[in-house]
Assembly symmetry: C2
Homo-oligomer: 162 residues x 2
């Protein structure tokens, strides 16, 4: 329990540190500033994802194909990293995957509902990076995005046709 909280608390500190430091000295942040923060968090996640997948696949036999990789990411990786089984997974069989987690670990601190939806992107950037980093280390370049329509549910979408 404390392990999870340790990560979650540290993650919240990072998000607020990065946004505060970007804002310091300026009155308001514009979209460009916000994008710079999101991209910094995503890059951190990317490196963390690379590290994690190396550990997690150490004793795994080679993957047969892309679908095999996706099964691993959505089952083993997601469960171990975000501590929940995904609630839904869809693919168009052309490189787009949409994974739904109805109680996403990094959003459970928020009030459920739509009140803080505008804050969600800050708290999803790191996780998008983690998924992109993991896929990248398995040889798949991708674009990963996440969207929330009601907290704490999250849809993570990625495309490997980049």
């Amino acid at each position: 329990m404390a392990d999870e909280s340790l990560f979650e608390f540290l993650h919240m500190e990072i998000v607020s540190h990065i946004f505060n430091e970007q804002q310091s000295g300026k009155g308001e942040m514009d979209n460009k500033d916000r994008a710079a923060c999101i991209s910094l968090l995503e890059a951190m996640g990317f490196r963390v994802g690379q590290g994690l997948i190396e550990r997690l696949t150490r004793d795994t036999p080679t993957f047969k194909d892309e679908l095999d990789i996706m099964k691993f990411i959505c089952k083993d990786f997601w469960t171990k990293v975000f501590r929940r089984q995904v609630d839904n997974l869809r693919t168009n069989h052309q490189g787009t995957y949409v994974l739904q987690d109805n109680k996403f670990a990094l959003l459970t601190q928020f009030s459920a509902g739509k009140q803080y939806l505008d804050q969600a992107p800050k708290y999803l950037a790191f996780s998008c990076g983690v998924v992109r980093g993991a896929l990248s280390n398995l040889g798949l370049e991708s674009v990963v995005t996440a969207e929330v329509s009601v907290m704490p549910s999250c849809k993570c979408r990625w495309n490997t046709n980049t």
Copy 2:
């Protein structure tokens, strides 16, 4: 396993982010810059420690005295947060406590030995903050320091006579 790594990887990212951003634009960091980074990491740890202890003591009966608190910090708290039992604990019964962990979680990524000793303070500041934050929320103001004489062993020392 991934949980732990997730925290450890994120922690390493934070440390390098904070040091890099302090250094950017300057050639070399001086002691003042380094102290500013350490203090930033310590402050993050402080807030994380405050959050963690609130969760961990939710179902714990009130503590009788300072020694009771210390037992909790060194047994339950340390074990849950850093995932190891402490190897040694000493006190002078006048407010100074020295806790030894011979395989400290945030130092296991380093080569064992003395090669990277000069890097240790960067990677201990956050944890010192965590302990100080936890003690502070239990009503004990303290000064917490950590020292390493050989990796990955760590001595964490705190004093409540501040």
